[in-house]
Symmetry: D2
Subunit: 427 residues, 4 copies
């Protein structure tokens, strides 16, 4: 199931796989056929359960015949019609009537993305909880703050975890969140002309109204939100891309810190241990921070995939784009899988992170002269040069970097409060 | 003011220019100094109006000395302190105390982006109005729908305009919208340690609380939203990038249609005429659709700039990133200017677009056999093969493509209703 | 074998597939083991033919256990060692000794890319021949030149084909061309320390020299070029990316012209017909230019994948990058497959393109007033205003756009000559 | 001159600035006018030296009027014609005759890029020399090799420098190198029709041949290579982009190592010191590795700009692209400047790098157990389990990591030899 060249990919399971997409495409056709029957456009003899008609064994055949039409819908329909013909000729005749290939591709992608969205939000909830614990537990764990690779002023590890958490919350709050994704049932050029025509031919009073009802009915069957045609307004996919990349941004930032702080010369953090994890093919001593390496990998690649979705949106043209649309499918599928894989890896990192607060404190103490230099420049502001108060201030200041943590607790509290609200809202 | 290599750039005026950024940086320092005085951390003698202390003439000097510290804040501070020293030594001493360079850079960029956001939303409002008019006025203007460059089924130009409008509304609804952007007053490593220390040294009861009050006060002075430190959670900038690129996506899609439909062989749309616009250096007959060309240019470049902002976010590290942060400034500034330029160009296109409904109708009639073939396949569904009803249906169907517009009106109405809500909400 | 979401993908066959990579990885281990034996570092009992030891059935197992070490080499080695243990314990002990995971991954990717490179150059040769024929045959086929979507001056279709050809030659001439790709046998940190140690322990005189000999021997076994370690200088992969994207650039430019010129309102070009190609799921009349649509898709996505490879190169760090390296594998594999797929599609387009020279000429004649306006401005330069020569020139000029083709033939000849040299050099 | 938001930008001086481009555009027009006169198409009265006719004061006027035509050539020509009219009416009449805007833009960009290329190669030569010295001098300076952030096996710093050097040589060897860049004198649609017509009207025997001669003459005047029209084959610019990004890749890899190894916990490298460099606005102790930070910034942004140039190439269409062409100018200019700035910064880093070989050795010794574990596994291969030789090997092996450097010297020598050849070839 997984991709040999993207270790960890199997964590995504069947998500957005070819067979998942095939299954979703059949569900889209099913939902439309059911709408036609339920709303009495087609007769009851057209009702048919399409599930199981096509199996994974059909994948290669469909794939191999998808180039001719530029998408896999046409060979899928041929197969479905052939298999329906014997037992359900009416279903075979009514299948896909009123739809176009893009309806099927778009809605199937949305269905698969919806599954990913649920998994993603579950992982985020876990991560928010883990990070809340880290931020609260380690609010007093002083460590060296580092900027541009050099020692700056002291921070607590709790504050660092709170900043990680804040980045995650920024991403988690983005649309589409848990709100519904839209179905696409728009017809050949976004007018629902065929659906309207079918409604008219079947004797309905308000054919255009019934066309919209058909689309709404099919959308709801699939758990999707009824929506006007969006053939050429591709925000559904770019919005997903923006959300996914906001997540990988937040995780990449965490992974970078774990990678830096687990260097042997620093060794303040360590990834959760697991059997065989982080081992090398040549060097027995190695325990590489492999989860963070793999998360960073995702964070370095997601932005360009999201940009690719935006390029597709920007290059929409006519009533269906001549190539830009075709770039979305694989890009969205890959980005989605990788985001879910990275989500699971990040959940594992933050739930089991080893925090060596003793080493943090020791390093901060060793570096305390540097870490507290800013503080001394501030005392000088209040010196009365005539009275030589500088020494007094120097006495007052202990050399403990833990004494120069500023609003550490209030900042952590503010982020924890936001995180709590988020979890309450999302539960 | 404009950029010779980005024609139209002067439409953005001073926005995000070096002098605008310099001015914004001074305003940030001013707002913080004022907070220190107003909240009685510094004495009243530290109050000082910094505006006018630094002028455009100082730009080159500051720019040329910015490499040493990696940002322009240090040379700016040297200049400000020197100039304050004579008349306001207390202000010179208190200037920037409690802040770090990143506070000044981040908040100044936010201030400049806020100006852009206001302009952007004003342009969007104009465009929404123009597109509402086009969608409503031309709802009956039949034209050939085109998919994958070929004739598909009929649409109306009103529907096309409604789809353009829908894309724009998708973008316009994105955060941060008109909500406030956050200020950044976080101190050297995001703990507000220096501000807290200053509050303690000046005898305040709750130094961490006062540090947050200082940040909130300075933010409000600048019209910004108080926010916990976000040194390493860079959603403020990626969110702006996502919004900007969603706009250029929507405009790119419109520009592509205008470019296609103003080809001389089609000639159904034409850009608004203006003196000299679209002319050529060699060919006197030329009237190039130059605004659409320039908007398309923006749409092709914005996605990669937004991706660059995401890469910066993903590559955050420690308490201040070692290079990723530095990529944000110029990227955000360029993306912002180009978005505003494209906004103005697009407003001009949609407000003055020439729509040749006669040519549209004539072309649709010429192509009516093709455009109505789908319809004929639908009638066949209802045929009673025994009774030869096919002919009857053929009689019923006129050859007028305007008779096969499906739910055209209802779809347009739905988008117009959403647009109306948007305008009411945004006024 | 193909990817459902990238129609046409099956054209790439097994190229860079998981099983091809697995096979290549085994070949790399084999070549090294053979070098150890041939150069008498290991004893003759370590000789073993690894081919067939691992099959496609092992893929899932290896993939699923690749996350722990961050790459699939470790589980592959476990499997190989287990299977060798019974019949060839010495081979099991010597397997991979002296290598590191990166050696195996890098060299296996190079092997797979080499196969692609051969296919790519064969397709390019075909395309060069087809385009030479088009350029030469249609050098007199006048058509409207178009700039910024509008009519400009006349061109010939032969010239257009020559310009397409020139773009392809620019790409084809890039390195690595048909020169050898490098093997990577560098050891854990690029020093070949383990290989050197093995040479010493086995009693060789010049252990470092023998280490280099081992690498050279293994490289040559695989048909690769011996090369110093390139663990952290990643030009091998960025160079391939640059070449691939230069090809898709050239093809994208051709596809765009085919898409534009096969619009029904222009209809000067048509893709080669094939059974079922270009059909629609809803509209029976449709013959979409689907090959060009699919090639354009590749051209829109390749640049970002090549940029991803460059980002990986730029983010190299230490003696093996912490995440950047891991982004290369899947990116290179995907880019390679898509390039080869687009190559095959483009070969089909240019070898079977329908060129309607009558329509071209007719359209140029219809537009001749516009197309010849530049010419009239030039005659005016030579007018003697006193003598009223303007009329004379107007008489001299026929209204035939074919009379204003400039250096059409010479330019075509120059490109044909370069193409001929290319083909002679590459045969 | 510099860009406030890209610290260090002033290092690029006037390169690719608006005024440099304006000057280059005038040089292009001059070279063509001279060709017309020299080859007796225009009379000798059309000879005119255009230099100085337009100054920096004209920039704003030209920029502000460039949107109408979509490029700055038309307003520049208006200005030039007006200023020529009084003293040189023939020159005013002949100016630009035979050219089109794209000729002027393309060739002017090439001229500016050529200046950058010269600077770039000079910087590369310096860097190659510096890195050769570092590689040779420190070939015995043992240090910990690090992979995936963790200790691996020993390396020498000389080897690391050799690997840096190898990456640079890979880039330096790329085309266009020091070979000539092409001029573009192609006319309105790439046929040189106007030039041919002018040759005919002026009575020349072989008008097409003379058109090519004119282009060759003008190209040579500018020091450029005569080349067939490349209006729509944009490899000239993508090739430059590929070269530039290959350089920033090589430098980014170096900068990442300097950033990592100058962390206070490692402190094996330090950037060359300079007055005020690396200082902070808040923390007096700070000496940030600011040059490496700024080089890394360039390395993170160059790949997306190069991808943008490829997208422009891929989106060429007709005889001049409708927006894609317009994205090239600013992208190429920015990428060029940033590459040259980073080049200068990198030259400074490698020429003055502080290498603390004592700390390197000490750290390697401290970590020697880990660094030598691979070695112990190799000895075991040769053990005779019956004879308990493991202890013997352990005795033989000193704990000095310097004893496990493999083919360190040979690898360094190979890279030095290549570097020497490069410098000899390029001098």
């Amino acid at each position: 199931m997984g991709d040999l060249l993207w270790p960890g990919d199997e964590r995504a399971g069947d998500l957005m796989s070819d067979s998942a997409m095939l299954n979703a495409m059949v569900r889209v056709e099913s939902s439309w056929l059911r709408a036609l029957v339920d709303l009495k456009v087609a007769g009851p003899d057209a009702a048919s359960d399409l599930s199981g008609l096509v199996t994974e064994d059909d994948l290669t055949g469909i794939t191999d015949r998808s180039e001719a039409g530029g998408n896999p819908v046409i060979p899928l329909l041929e197969l479905l019609r052939t298999r329906l013909a014997a037992n359900s000729p009416a279903a075979a005749r009514w299948l896909h009537r009123g739809l176009t290939s893009q309806d099927v591709m778009d809605t199937a992608l949305v269905l698969c993305a919806g599954v990913a969205l649920d998994r993603l939000h579950a992982e985020i909830d876990d991560q928010v909880s883990s990070l809340m614990t880290l931020a609260d537990r380690h609010r007093g764990a002083v460590m060296a703050g580092r900027t541009l690779t050099q020692h700056a002023v002291p921070i607590s590890f709790g504050l660092k975890a709170a900043m990680w958490l804040q980045g995650l919350l920024d991403a988690a709050d983005l649309p589409p969140g848990r709100a519904g994704l839209p179905g696409q049932f728009a017809g050949a050029a976004g007018t629902m002309a065929a659906a309207t025509e079918l409604a008219a031919l079947s004797g309905h009073d308000d054919p255009p109204g019934l066309a919209l009802d058909l689309a709404a009915h099919a959308s709801r069957t699939l758990g999707l939100r009824p929506h006007p045609p969006w053939h050429t307004s591709r925000h559904t996919f770019t919005g997903l891309g923006d959300l996914f990349v906001a997540c990988t941004d937040a995780w990449g930032r965490i992974a970078n810190d774990v990678l830096t702080l687990s260097r042997p010369e620093i060794a303040e953090l360590a990834e959760p241990a697991a059997d065989g994890r982080g081992s090398s093919s040549a060097m027995p001593q190695k325990v590489n921070p492999v989860l963070s390496v793999l998360v960073r990998r995702a964070a370095l690649t997601a932005p360009l995939m999201s940009a690719q979705l935006h390029l597709a949106a920007a290059e929409a043209r006519d009533e269906r784009p001549d190539g830009a649309w075709h770039t979305e499918w694989s890009t969205l599928a890959t980005l989605t899988r990788r985001t879910v894989v990275a989500a699971a890896q990040m959940s594992e990192i933050v739930s089991g992170l080893t925090v060596d607060t003793e080493r943090m404190r020791a390093a901060a103490l060793t570096a305390s002269t540097d870490l507290l230099l800013e503080r001394r420049t501030l005392s000088a502001l209040f010196d009365d040069p005539a009275a030589g108060q500088l020494d007094i201030h120097n006495d007052v200041h202990s050399a403990d970097p833990a004494g120069y943590l500023g609003a550490n607790d209030l900042i952590i509290d503010a982020v924890l409060e936001r995180a709590g609200s988020y979890l309450r809202g999302s539960s």
